[in-house]
Subunit: 189 residues, 2 copies
DNA sequence: AATCTAAACTAACAGTTGTTAGTTTGATAA
DNA sequence: TTATCAAACTAACAACTGTTAGTTTAGATT
């Protein structure tokens, strides 16, 4: 039977190169060279370059969707839910920092699955926004434009992929706690 | 004499397309088509595709460098300096949101000027970090890992280009104030 | 020993890429 | 009117792109 782990190697290698130069700038020959084989050989394992990108992005998008679904349905208060969202991003990004680069920067090169991806993203942002709005209503969160709060937190979380791989400053749990403190309580003494 | 504003039109058009699809995915024929001319005609005004990218990125990077230089030398306290940095990002991004996409996502495609760009970026981050560290020493800022504070604020500011163009929610001054409040004081009531 | 098969290979394709060379156009200045 | 010239054009290039077809290799199974 076909060894699925060779396919995974290709996806992993592609993901690494996509982070470095972006999807469009990486050629099939680049990916093959990195693995020590010829470009044509890749097609014994994958269908197309486009398929690689789709695999990377959609699987990550689903992880986020499933994660926030659980948080949304939990009984916690709003601040607690925000902390869970922060931990979710730290966890997924720690596991696959390279893939997060594609999710953030190359989603527009999806073709058949572009619309589906956008739906997942819109839903995710809606769920997130809803948690913030409920927090303001419950007097847990400062009365302020929910979109600016959403944007501010989400931007930081979406950029984690750039920082987490750097000289493994911290373990993921400590990072999630520190981030929660800064994003929720601010930095002013 | 050569009309410099035609060159500016090309750079502006390219910047818009670079934001949409990234530098590598945009062809000279794309840029020309958007302007209603042929690709070869672009070369009456610009030297190369690479030159366009360099112009976009280096001019923005210099704006940030000059901005933080002034803030660094001012007599304000640390919190005030942070507010000035936030206002600087809002101002530059409001003026050229499309260009910020290239600065954030396509800097790795710089060639001759890559090293210079990286120097500017490293210096900018060092100045920013130094302001945070002084703030902690002065008891203005919570004792916490300065790199996480830096990362958290800078990620939000670097993502502004994605949000500012959206349905002009706010005028820049109000946005800068709201952002300062959230980033500095947090969101917890 | 013979067969099978996953996974590599070589060779080639049709289309696209950034760019150059040389030419035409049309408005302005002499 | 004529000359000038910025800025468009057509045509072409060599290199590179994703992908396919057909072949070889080498280890495992019969």
């Amino acid at each position: 039977m076909k060894q699925e782990n060779r396919k995974d190697e290709i996806i992993q290698t592609a993901t690494k190169l996509f982070k470095k130069k972006g999807y469009s700038a990486v050629t099939m020959r680049d990916i093959a060279k990195e693995m020590g084989i010829k470009a044509a050989s890749l097609y014994n394992h994958i269908n197309s370059k486009q398929d690689i990108l789709t695999t990377i992005i959609i699987s990550l998008a689903k992880e986020y969707t499933e994660g926030i679904e659980i948080i949304k349905l939990s009984e916690n208060n709003s601040i607690e839910k925000l902390k869970q969202i922060i931990a979710l991003h730290v966890k997924i990004t720690t596991q696959n920092a390279n893939g997060m680069a594609s999710l953030n920067n190359d989603w527009m090169h999806l073709e058949e699955q572009l619309e589906y991806y956008l739906m997942l993203r819109t839903n995710y942002e809606s769920d997130f926004r809803e948690i913030i709005i409920r927090g303001i209503e419950n007097n847990e969160i400062t009365k302020s434009n929910p979109d600016i709060i959403l944007f501010s937190i989400l931007s930081t979380l979406r950029s984690l992929y750039l920082w987490i791989p750097k000289k493994d400053i911290l373990n993921p749990n400590k990072l999630a706690l520190d981030l929660s403190s800064i994003l929720i309580n601010g930095i002013k003494k």
